[in-house]
């Protein structure tokens, strides 16, 4: 029942994000019928065009932002709307309330990564182009694993920051601040440390510079570190949720 509750609370966000992602992927690929190859780069491979528009373009931003939004909610929000007493009256502890929300948010985030995986190869075929499914799968795996960081960060924010809009603002600013830190400090010299590079291979050796396909072995160490960071953030969120006394 707690999973169903978490789903009901987040399904509008998930469905809206899914709709916009699908719409954008579909329209981008359909436009390739007209604007591909670009006039200034007639030799650009189709796969590189897709990478620029989908995996390194607006879809990546929508995905990061929505992964953050999916992690929001929970008891702090219910406290504001006055319904937390009903939830706390359930015969479960706070951690049992938190973890179904985390699992549902992670599942929704992972499902969002499936949208380009389905739409890009299918829509490409419909315009007479080919995008290899195996590479779409590899990018989906990268998006899903790095996405755990943004979901976990927003779960932590939703517990630490009271006020729905304040937690929303903090959740949106988290990836923006991360991006600024990774691009504006000495960390810029280590592209493997940035989840933004790991999610689409930007500046990393596994991405083919010409075709923009994920040809090389995936950066498993970086992906593992994303999982560890995510686990640490969720651990902090659990500790914080456990200590709340309202």
């Amino acid at each position: 029942m707690l999973y169903y509750k978490a789903w009901l609370e987040s399904r509008v966000r998930f469905l809206a994000a899914g709709a916009v992602l699908s719409l954008y992927c579909l329209t981008f690929i359909q436009r390739a019928r007209i604007d591909f190859p670009p006039v200034l780069e007639p030799m650009l491979p189709y796969t590189a065009h897709v990478w620029r528009g989908i995996y390194h373009g607006l879809v990546a931003i929508v995905f990061v932002v929505m992964a953050g939004l999916l992690g929001l909610g929970g008891l702090e929000r219910e406290r504001e709307s006055g319904s937390c007493a009903f939830t706390l009256a359930l015969p479960v502890n706070r951690l049992q309330l938190l973890w179904p929300r985390v699992v549902v948010a992670m599942f929704e985030m992972a499902t969002l990564t499936v949208i380009p995986l389905i739409v890009v190869p299918w829509a490409s075929a419909s315009i007479g182009r080919e995008y290899p499914v195996i590479h779409a799968i590899r990018f989906a795996v990268l998006f899903a694993i790095t996405g755990t960081v943004w979901v976990s960060a927003s779960v932590l924010v939703s517990i630490a920051v009271s006020g729905a809009y304040a937690s929303l603002a903090a959740s949106l600013l988290t990836p923006a601040i991360c991006a600024a830190v990774f691009s504006g400090t000495a960390l810029n010299a280590h592209p493997l440390l940035s989840p933004f590079n790991v999610m689409n291979g930007s500046r990393l050796p596994f991405l083919n510079r010409v075709t923009a396909l994920a040809d090389g072995p995936l950066p498993w160490a970086a992906l593992l570190s994303c999982v560890v960071v995510s686990a640490v953030l969720l651990g902090l969120a659990s500790a914080l949720a456990y200590r709340r006394d309202f």
């Binding site: 966000r13 809206a16 916009v20 932002v65 504001e80 729905a164 304040a166 929303l168 949106l172």
Partner: protein, 247 residues
């Protein structure tokens, strides 16, 4: 008192946004002290470096989020949290509540925009040992504000239409992306290049911007006027919907 109420409801968002923008501005300028000229491309002028850090399209996306989030709030939200009856018991009309919310939100939006206007030209000589013309900061801020008020009005409209906090927030955050999807699908970049928000905010309508990324042509006042009218229409819609709501 309504002003104070609107300020109290939105100040945490404003402080978060203003704090992040301030820290970002200072970080970029401090980095420019040792990192400019760029080692990989030493011929890039300081004005182009500033453009890429503050006014490039991705920065316009970030500012659009700030405008949308500052626009959220209003009676529907209070209805969700159960405080709407107290607000509605005040001896003021719903229009006054909306108008106050709009003015405070726009003031906060302008406040966020003022930060780079003050910090970049003011602290560039001190922190980065470079100069950047204040007039350019003002002009880029005007371009950002022209679409910013549209996003702000859009955020307010969503929060008037939807009762759930996160439903309105999701609709608001996804608005620019849905707009870009529709814009792309209708081949807007070829048919209506002036309607590309992020290109316009980044000075893309100035055809002689050049490699220095300095605006040399007059601001596109006609486009900005159209955007002001769009924002006014959205805000009028907000006022009308709020006035007609029956709770």
């Amino acid at each position: 008192m309504l002003w104070y109420k609107a300020w109290r409801e939105s100040r945490s968002r404003f402080f978060l946004a203003a704090g992040a923008v301030t820290v970002y501005c200072l970080t970029v300028l401090v980095r420019a002290r040792s990192g400019f000229p760029l080692p990989q491309n030493p011929r890039v002028p300081y004005s182009a470096f500033i453009w890429s850090e503050f006014y490039a399209p991705f920065r316009a996306v970030a500012f659009s989020f700030i405008a949308l989030v500052l626009g959220l709030g209003g009676l529907q939200r209070e209805r969700g949290s159960g405080t709407a009856p107290f607000t509605l018991a005040l001896p003021v009309g719903r229009g006054q509540l909306v108008a106050t919310r709009v003015f405070v939100g726009l003031a906060e939006l302008i406040g966020v925009l003022l930060i780079p206007i003050v910090v970049v030209p003011g602290l560039s000589p001190v922190l980065a040992h470079q100069t950047y013309p204040a007039s350019q900061s003002v002009q880029y801020a005007a371009l950002f504000l022209s679409w910013g008020i549209v996003w702000f009005a859009g955020g307010l409209l969503w929060s008037v239409l939807f009762r759930g906090d996160f439903t309105a927030a999701t609709a608001a955050v996804l608005t620019p992306f849905a707009y870009m999807a529709v814009y792309g699908a209708s081949r807007g970049d070829q048919r209506f290049p002036v309607a590309n928000p992020f290109a316009m905010m980044s000075g893309g309508l100035d055809r002689s911007v050049g490699g220095r990324m300095l605006l040399t042509e007059p601001l596109p006042w006609d486009v900005m006027l159209v955007l002001a009218v769009v924002a006014a229409a959205l805000l009028a819609g907000v006022w009308r919907i709020t006035a007609r709501q029956s709770f």
